[in-house]
Amino acid sequence: MGDVVEKETLIEIKNLRMYFPVISGLFLQKKVAEVKAVDDISFSICKGETLGLVGESGCGKTTVGKCILQLYRPTSGHILFEGKDLCHLSNKELRPLRRSLQVIFQDPYESLDPRFTAADIIGEPLKIHGIARGQAYWDRITEVLDIVGLASYMANRYPHEFSGGQRQRLGIARALSLRPSFIVCDEPISALDVSIQAQIINLLDDLQKEFNITYLFISHDLSVVRHISDRIAVMYLGKLVEVAVQDELCKSPLHPYTQALLAAVPIPDPTVEAQRSVIVLRGEVPSPISPPSGCVFHPRCYKAFEPCLTIVPKLEDVSDGHYVACHLYSS
């Protein structure tokens, strides 16, 4: 996948930090601590690429997505999109850019307004951005419905009249209506049944090919992420621990956390499963309010040694675009 490197960068994230204050007290509200949801991460996404972002719940992967979309204003850092730093634009300046940055949410049951019809849901962005009116408005709605595989007569239905898979198609249609160049897919298939998941993955795949859309695909399911992504980034407790091309990450993972994560994904084949070794990690993910010193993974790591306790490992390029943040590999 050497060609990925030469591709044009669409989004560049530099030293992104997102801290949420922990407030205590009813009247005299005081900031008592900070949740370091995203702590100093940098990566870039190329045009037409799918970057998979994996990690366990609470590791900050959704926060990264929301920071890119400027649904959260980051504490510090830069997000460069089309030559502009999104973090330093005013809301007014951001609005035209928001057309290009869209999102598909996890739960199609909660992210769609129950009082909007399908047409309203898809059409609202068109109205807000003043893109289409009258016949053109309806034409675009019909067109988008058709693209995602819904029939045009469904335009007047409400979300509860759709099944889970259809609802997610509607969520995708809403994201598509403004012809975005970048979509954050935040766990788009986790709420769906297995047989429906494959339909949605295939749809996302087709859309990317047809419209040259770039995806940030956030998920906790490594087998799905591997299927859809060109490169995969692994997050743990607000930090990136490993970034590599999908096949390389899955075949030769370097970071102990990635190795454990891969071993934890069961393979639907009893013969293969009988021969696989299982890495059982100790304990649970620590609180991001007081992350461990040094490498944040060291209390659970089965390969931890002295420097891990005190020194924070840097994300370094170890071999041709394979980045890892681990003292085992630092020179």
Partner: protein, 324 residues
């Protein structure tokens, strides 16, 4: 192998305003002593309802077990009095639920919820029961169990709560544990911890396990026999080797093909099963899968195919698979 639990032709219906939902229809399965089986299927296919029926936990009057037999240790659970079934719940058959937050009592401490079971079923004194509760919590890998026993469910993380559920499930050393999606709400690394622990404990105690899940990978790792459910019926069952390597029902085939696998080269397209599962209020006359089946024949539309043994221990209900 003598069967510990034998579910025979179980049907459970729910009576709603819109009509009768046939959640479980003519389902049969059996579990031998110490065996682990899995019920696989998508949401709404009736796998949970069939398990709840075993413990007679179906909410009445809207739900009702309309027919069938559930033989456990020689007795039909469906014929027992309410008092007698209470002696079995928790003591001989216990259950691990999916949502640990909603199935633990939020106003009782963890310790008191476990001691309650021990006092009731094992007739222990309060103090002994508390000691035993701490031993159980340590066994399921909870650090500082003494401290944890005084905590309330909301103090614990999802993974910890699920451990508490497992501690409760094994507290009376039951003969059968029903684990209903025990790890759906937790992360993958915690999922491995929990499932490995369940396997170790069931092996040690010789407990049989019914694992209900939609995750085909987990089934491959932890179950010896698999029952595949679709639209309130079992469509195929057999040893997991047979189901995974030689699936015969088109639904099983489709299900296995639709999940991306880590150990295979990346495919350009996933094979998906088109369409939606049918409405359980208006069941189809023929095979419930035929509208989505790529091999459907006019014969499939006419009537249901009986379960046929096509290989030793491998049963399938598909007209095409049974008739070549």
């Amino acid at each position: 192998m003598s069967a510990l639990l034998e579910v025979k032709n179980l049907s459970t219906y729910f009576y709603t305003q819109d009509g009768v939902v046939k959640a479980v229809e003519n389902v049969s399965y059996e579990v031998a002593r110490g065996e682990s089986i899995a019920l696989v299927g998508e949401s709404g296919c009736g796998k949970t309802v069939s398990a709840l029926s075993i413990l007679r936990l179906i909410p009445e009057p809207q739900g009702k077990i309309v027919s069938g037999q559930i033989m456990f240790d020689g007795a039909d659970l469906l014929k027992l009095s309410k008092k007698a079934i209470r002696q079995i719940r928790g003591a001989k058959i216990s259950m691990v639920f999916q949502e640990s937050m909603t199935s633990l009592n939020p106003v009782l401490t963890i310790g008191s919820q476990i001691t309650e079971m021990l006092e009731l079923h094992r007739r222990m004194k309060r103090r002994d029961a508390f000691e035993e509760a701490i031993r159980l919590l340590t066994l399921v890998g909870i650090p500082q169990a003494k401290h944890c026993a005084k905590d309330y469910p909301h103090h614990l993380s999802g993974g910890m709560r699920q451990r508490v559920m497992i501690a409760m499930a094994i507290s009376c050393e039951p003969q059968l544990i029903i684990a209903d999606e025990p790890t759906t709400a937790v992360d993958v690394t915690i999922q491995t911890q929990l499932l490995e622990m369940i396997r170790d404990i069931t092996n040690k105690l010789g407990t049989a396990l019914i694992l209900i899940t939609h995750n085909l990978g987990i089934v491959a790792r932890y179950a010896q026999r698999v029952y595949v459910m679709y639209a309130s019926r079992i469509v195929e069952h057999g040893p997991s080797q047979a189901i995974y390597h030689d699936p015969r029902h088109p639904y099983t085939v489709g299900l296995l093909a639709s999940v991306p696998r880590l150990d295979e080269p990346v495919k350009t397209r996933l094979i998906s099963i088109e369409g939606q599962p049918p409405d359980l209020i208006f069941p189809l006359l023929g095979c419930s899968f035929y509208p989505r089946c790529s091999h459907a024949t006019p014969k499939c539309e006419e009537g249901k195919q009986e379960m046929v043994e096509i290989a030793p221990g491998h049963y399938v209900s598909c007209w095409r698979a049974c008739n070549g």
